[in-house]
Amino acid sequence: MGKANGSSKKQKKEPDYEQMYKKLEESHDIYHKFFEEVNDAFFVSTKDGKLVDANKAYCELFGVNKEEIKKINVIETYVNPDDRREFLTRVERDGLVKNYPVKLKNVNGREMDCRITAVTLLNKKEEIIGYQGIIYDVTEKKKLQKELENTKNDFQLYLDIFVHDFRNFISVPNVYTSLGRKMVEDRLGVYEKLFKSGDLNRFYKVVKDDLKKTDEMLVNNQNVIKKAIGLIENIETLMKSQHTKKNFTKQNLNEILNSCIGWIKEKYDSKIPLSINYSGMPGANIMADELINNLFTNVFDNAIKYSDKKRTELWVKIEDSVEYWGVRIADTGSGIPEGQRGRVFERYERLKNHEVSGKGLGGVLIKSLAERYDGEVTIEDRIPGDYTQGTCFIIKLPKYTVD
């Protein structure tokens, strides 16, 4: 018996192209909505860097509008074009690069710390025709990380100062107070005996020697207390320079320097022969607040501290340096060899290197204050090529402009 013809094979169903097209369109809409609305900057570029597409977040990040993106070549967004070459080498080698760190810039030239995650786009022949990726702007995150790290280091620094320097300072009055009390106990009997013996010359000599010794102890106590107070003041200024709001007003550099010179002369004049040669410049104005005085008094203080005590001579001069006023403060101190100059301003140097004596906050403070006013501080030899003839601090502060 034969099989019935025709009806044993199932009829192949025709695809529902309309439905498929609708689904594809929906999927494209979802993707495009996601592409457009997501907070991270998406981009699609050709191999030679022309932008094919970019989302709203990308436009915001780089300061462009949607119409302008096709005119952009991504190479122009790299601060260092070599970084793009390195990035492409990696993405082409691995097909995918995650969180590649790079410095990019927007249309106004504002530099940003970014991370790029990207893949290669291939044609049917598996050839690279472009790149697609996401850019994360981590500038703020990096800034916060740096601030956190600095806060942690500051805590370590202040802890180190309290633990080390103040213990050192306290040693002196601690021992001298005990010694003074011991002297009072021991010497009363000696004085009584001598006084009763009637040998007033001997009595007078013993009392005089004891008073001399006591005075020496008190002077030493006073010196360490002064050092401790100086350190507390430096810590306070350092904290203020970093954490107080910058309410700057127009100030005259001549007036500031004259006032600082007057203050330093009053502080040292009776103790050491001090000569300050000042060459000012009228109309040298800057934007600053009251902390600016600490910047110069600290430079003067440092210069005097490390100068020959028999005669200290300072030269202070204001120079016109295009957008800046340069203040040169030269001394006749023992000088700083070139290799050690960076250490003078390095805030955490004492935490890393115990060949740095504890008290060294002066340089740190000078740098911190100069930076507060968007300035900078550098060190040169007073006589070029011979550091032993003294040091010259150069403080550059931005000129006051009406803008």
């Binding site: 002196v172 021992v175 001298y176 060949e355 740095v356 004596s357």
Partner: protein, 135 residues
């Protein structure tokens, strides 16, 4: 006893000098590592009071250099930084005096090393006597 004090703080040096000299010891001062080594060679002290943090070489490096010159050196560390105690003892320091210290502690510490020195001297003398008899 001959004592060398190594400290960059002038007031600390002066403090040690004032106290220790009262007890009849001979004192020399050095404010950094290089000066300490130089003074050690010339002065040959019985005891060195060594600070840790100093400009130039720190106390540990200075200790190593003194030991290279004289392995029998008696070095007593004296620092505000207690974390250095272990390292100082590893390098061969005979003790550690934590700043700030009390007057009595300083006097007692110097006293201990003076007695130790007398003891060592006694042993050396009796050994040389035995050697003489044997000879």
């Amino acid at each position: 006893m001959k004592i060398l004090i190594v400290d960059d703080e002038i007031e600390i040096c002066s403090l040690f000098k004032n106290i220790i000299e009262t007890y009849g010891h001979e004192i020399k001062l050095a404010s950094n590592g290089d000066a300490a080594l130089d003074t050690y060679r010339k002065f040959r002290p019985d005891l060195v009071l060594m600070d840790y943090r100093m400009p130039g070489k720190d106390g540990l490096k200075t200790t190593e250099e003194i030991f290279n010159y004289d392995p029998e050196a008696q070095i007593l560390f004296c620092s505000a930084d207690s974390s250095v105690k272990g390292k100082a003892m590893e390098r061969g320091a005979v003790g550690f005096l934590q700043k700030p210290f009390d007057l009595e502690v300083l006097i007692d510490t110097i006293d201990i090393y003076e007695k130790k020195k007398v003891e060592v001297k006694k042993n050396q003398d009796s050994n040389s006597l035995i050697a003489d008899i044997t000879f």
